[in-house]
Symmetry: D2
Subunit: 434 residues, 4 copies
Amino acid sequence: MNSDIKIAALAKLLEEKTITRRRDFHRHPETGWTEFRTASIVIETLIELGYDVKFGNDVIDEANMMGVPSTEILEENMARAIAQGANPDLVAKMTGGKTGVIGTMKFAKPGPTVALRFDMDCNDVFEATNENHRPAKEGFASINPGCMHACGHDGHTSAGLAIAEILSVLKGQLAGTIKFIFQPAEEGVRGAKAMLAKGAVDDVDFFLAAHLMMPKVGYLAYDVQGFLATSKFDATFIGVPAHAGAAPEVGKNSLLAAATAAINLQAIPRHSDGISRVNVGVLNAGTGRNVIPANAVIKVETRGATSKINEYIYECAEKIIKGSAAMYDNKVTISQMGGAASGSNSPKLTETIGNIAARIGIFNQYEALSNIGGSEDSSYFMEKVQKNGGQAAYMVIGASLTAVNHNLYFDFDEHALTLESQLIATIASDLLTK
Amino acid sequence: MNSDIKIAALAKLLEEKTITRRRDFHRHPETGWTEFRTASIVIETLIELGYDVKFGNDVIDEANMMGVPSTEILEENMARAIAQGANPDLVAKMTGGKTGVIGTMKFAKPGPTVALRFDMDCNDVFEATNENHRPAKEGFASINPGCMHACGHDGHTSAGLAIAEILSVLKGQLAGTIKFIFQPAEEGVRGAKAMLAKGAVDDVDFFLAAHLMMPKVGYLAYDVQGFLATSKFDATFIGVPAHAGAAPEVGKNSLLAAATAAINLQAIPRHSDGISRVNVGVLNAGTGRNVIPANAVIKVETRGATSKINEYIYECAEKIIKGSAAMYDNKVTISQMGGAASGSNSPKLTETIGNIAARIGIFNQYEALSNIGGSEDSSYFMEKVQKNGGQAAYMVIGASLTAVNHNLYFDFDEHALTLESQLIATIASDLLTK
Amino acid sequence: MNSDIKIAALAKLLEEKTITRRRDFHRHPETGWTEFRTASIVIETLIELGYDVKFGNDVIDEANMMGVPSTEILEENMARAIAQGANPDLVAKMTGGKTGVIGTMKFAKPGPTVALRFDMDCNDVFEATNENHRPAKEGFASINPGCMHACGHDGHTSAGLAIAEILSVLKGQLAGTIKFIFQPAEEGVRGAKAMLAKGAVDDVDFFLAAHLMMPKVGYLAYDVQGFLATSKFDATFIGVPAHAGAAPEVGKNSLLAAATAAINLQAIPRHSDGISRVNVGVLNAGTGRNVIPANAVIKVETRGATSKINEYIYECAEKIIKGSAAMYDNKVTISQMGGAASGSNSPKLTETIGNIAARIGIFNQYEALSNIGGSEDSSYFMEKVQKNGGQAAYMVIGASLTAVNHNLYFDFDEHALTLESQLIATIASDLLTK
Amino acid sequence: MNSDIKIAALAKLLEEKTITRRRDFHRHPETGWTEFRTASIVIETLIELGYDVKFGNDVIDEANMMGVPSTEILEENMARAIAQGANPDLVAKMTGGKTGVIGTMKFAKPGPTVALRFDMDCNDVFEATNENHRPAKEGFASINPGCMHACGHDGHTSAGLAIAEILSVLKGQLAGTIKFIFQPAEEGVRGAKAMLAKGAVDDVDFFLAAHLMMPKVGYLAYDVQGFLATSKFDATFIGVPAHAGAAPEVGKNSLLAAATAAINLQAIPRHSDGISRVNVGVLNAGTGRNVIPANAVIKVETRGATSKINEYIYECAEKIIKGSAAMYDNKVTISQMGGAASGSNSPKLTETIGNIAARIGIFNQYEALSNIGGSEDSSYFMEKVQKNGGQAAYMVIGASLTAVNHNLYFDFDEHALTLESQLIATIASDLLTK
């Protein structure tokens, strides 16, 4: 097992570089579909390491991009990325927010294809600026107002690049193909579908993803089950305005259509196969007190224990929304704003990871997460790989967080990045040598 | 004007016969579309008086019959009518509830066509049986359980026959055509439309109808305005049942579809052109507590100051009902159960009647009803005649009622029938001599 | 273990008597709270066997009786029971529907208290009368129209009496106390609570109940988990009627209050601790199309994976119903119509039963029911016994049903009664000899 | 009638001054409750003319001020008013938005009290800035962004000051008392109630108000009937937020409470006494898609043909809103945002005005407005005066508008101001000389 030792040494060696990179990303956070600077750095690094790199149109299917910002915002952020050092040629090729990157390396010997997925986007959070917050104190807090890496994707991306470097060093002894998927827009579960639709994991035998989380450094959960499938969408109702006093009969009331939809969405039956959820988180309708309201929007989220349950709920929701609009003679459009599949780790890959983790001995606490509950769009990749007969796993890695995810005081112990790099590189190496 | 005197004398002469006939009708009341015995007597009487009589299929359009009882009930009532003395051959020709009758007499000299309309049906009321109630005391209370003439149509029908007799006596001096329309199913405004659809008033120049009402004998309202247009319909929802605990997602909930319709029907806008009303009077849904309900019915009524407003409400209602059904993936059918047009008396005919009433001097109190408010399906006839350029009027005749309409103690002062006969015969005679 | 042999022989010996008794019960079925004849026979039999018998007021708490028929129906059924041979004195003591019976036998030696519970009521079903249905063919089909033992409680009751006889024979060798609970009104889960409230199981260490089910004779499920807690209730809304056209503002609309309640009951949140259900199975409101409806009733059922979840749902439901009534200025009353606790078998007792079943070897198929899903009000007794530190178990016994429960062709292989008697008597004997 | 000639001459003489003043007001528009500069000018002018002037706390009842802007906005606008030339001492006395002014002159001889009411506030409109718009072309367009006199209150205020000047000239020949009411916040019908509550018209015998409108200069409507009573209010719901996926049962949903209120508000019955209206113009609820929404606001407006109908609707609305909140265990507060009474001109005063208008002959088109339909809060003053036995009238004066009210191109023919001044001064003079 001297490759274990080699990987451990490489991970250690890259620690400082990885932390520096993480802090650079932390200082220049970019929200979903605007990761122009981050992706540029990823592209250049992967090319330098000898990977075959695809990005922009080649890896993002425009029709499946969900929750994309307006052209104005995209253009502003492209300009900001360039101003903050991004390669203008690369940025130009990501026009429209196509900020996904895939780096592939085919080894000499035949073997399986292993995919590793990392997310790159930040949150819509104004970062804390006071001395209690290490990034502020040490000068690497966000310089992009309203943008903050408050979910650790800066760490994910830099660990991904470290792993890419480790595996490139080991390439002589590996078989098959390694594939690095750097995904935009994980927040809001908006980005995976567009990469999936371009075939990102069509040829993948093993798929791995990971997330830094609250527990102390040394914690590892590799038996993860129960991602909820989810769909996120907006319904926009358009009616006809009218003076509420003088000619109410002329109006077509969008507020009432939306309110009827919101209430009746709650009546989608509970499902006997497992957990179901539906939430109308926002309803905004109308412009003036004395006008029959002719515009309304509802922001809806559904979840299901399985993708099938979630689809059932979605189909019911569609009927309810369209029926409500018809009742009030409104036009309605439903826009997809995000989505994720349900999912659980493949048992065999779980076992493999457990054995490797035990072997390399860098973690001191193991846990099974039998009902992770939330939604993550790496589940789309997992589902596809598993359907094709491959194996997939998601890991949760302790990072001694300073605050809960999405909090303005979020920070983590960067030593977790070294552990993450070593673990994932070792797993990939194992899978690529058999 | 010695014809005034002649008519007065004839009306007086017929008083006893008319009262006898009214009491016979009162004792054998028949609800809407089951007036087999009543219609048989009307037919035979009109034939005897020399009228050209049409009935059954010739005067009732099946497709426009609303709220017809089941075949079983119709057959039961046909048998009862025969058992109570109706002519079986006539009854047979009214199969399906086609109990309308039209008697026409064309006079030698050319002239206008005058139509007089009388309604024949009783109410779904169990008549009082104690001594305080004159019909019970004097032995002419209903012998048909659950059926009672509690709105005076027994009086209308017998007054109609008296007028037919008076005018047949006068025929030598009259010009044009007189037409007696004996209509079934006025309660629930279900019957006029089916006679209208067969052309009952297509050729009519003057149309008259009347109703006995609460005020004392001697009261007359001939300037009547503001019948509300109305539509009455049932919506039946069919879903899919399911066990509410074990597999709720299999169900398609009709109760919720109907409840959503009922509530949202209230949101049909008030109309700036005048009065609008909508009522869901009945909602019945579901069979068992633990079953997703898969059947529901709502009984709805709309009203509008004008037929146009009522149509607007009806169209909105249709959208709301269909949308609600679609929301819950239910099938829905809407059945017409009744309807009436809006309407007001023609000013010129109002004036004519006023002059005649003053001339014959048998009434001592006159009132204009500028907002009668309710609905009556003679309005369909009035609307049609007025649209064709003719004149129409509805009169309210005081009858010293003993109780409000539809009450089990309803009765009236039968002298009102003589006044009604004399007034209407005189108006018709006037119109047919000019 | 020669007591095993003794019990097997006694069960065999009683087979014919048990079948005869079952057919007698089948022929004279009585619905919930009207089991006057059935209970009379149970009482007389238990007394004869030497049991100390309590019934009527002594075992039924009036305030906790749910879904009791009207006094008229109760009186009719008391008369019918007497006409069909019930002891009039016993029937009189069960006035008001207090048809529960508890028979106790205290053995000489000290020991635990073991309770066995059997249900006695039939279903509201018209039994099949043709030759394809064995009870009809062989002359023991129901003679009480609309009443049928279509859920096997006739079998439960007769098996209970057989077990009572077996244990009375063995009394010399037993220690502690045996308690037979014959419960009325299990259908609709209405009866257990009233016996619980009178302390039926307050002193019980071991509790057993069983149900005959679809699988072939020889099937036994003794590891039963996941009864859903449930509550069943009606909400009755009282408003103020008004003429819908003439004075709608006078009315207080009960139909809309009930419809609003029905829809918003669906919005009770899904619960993160487990399964939740809510169903409005029936809504009836209003009397006439043109009247503002002033009466409405909804029939509601809630279920929860735990009693706590069910209570949460019930409390939300109460708020929604009261709020809806307040919106329309209605009075509302909520009547409890049934209820059951959640529950699962005690693991230790499950193990005990498994060992005994294996030992006596009369079953050939074993199954664990880890999510039984439905509701049974024996769960109230189980919950209480388990809370008091005792053990409780529910068993499902294969009976080769000819049709699903509650079907008009329901029947079963009566040999299952012998297996049930032998099994339960052996378990009780074991528990009472340690 | 040489006072007619005198008034005509004075009105003509003041024309230029009035136009100049109107343009100054037009250039410095101030929205409801922020009329600090306008009121300062009114105060100073009235004092100069010899009126006894009250303002601030003396004429505005704080508890009855509706729809008042935030303290920040009020302070900003006070500063702006001073910067644009308002007297700082006067502005200080109007702190809190108390911008109403009453100027009174008691004449030597005893006589009736005549009140004239003028409104001063502008609209929330960005005025057109191009050459097609005369105020822009001629340099008197608004310099306060988002504020524009687009309803002619600049004209009303300057006409009011002209009339004040005319009557001050005539004071020697007048009897009784003249009272000028300069009201803030007519837009949104928010201001009259607060002046009414301070007794503005408690002693008034004759009340007059007027509005410039679309018809050509020369048009006068003085027989105005049918102001709708109205109430305008916001309902704010506060619930409890929760994660929609993880713990939905923790939440108390405000969006659903508000939606239920919005829909059921539509079910407030139509009223048989006349026009009723209810509109929910705005519903805003929730913050994030995946959060159970814990905040909601609805903006509601009711109208009724009479103040009584409006009160009925308001009371129903209150029940519905409170019931909806109770259903979802929300707290709710209802804030009054505006209101007006129903009303019609006093017939005798109408006649008086008609005679005077005919006498002075400056109008060439007269119209009766029998169903003005909208709402105006001068109706509160009218209702009060009429209840006290006085007479009140509202007049509509043609001003050849260039665009509909509230439009960014609104302007009018300033000659209308001269006609308005002459007419109202003449009426007041007549009433004060009898």
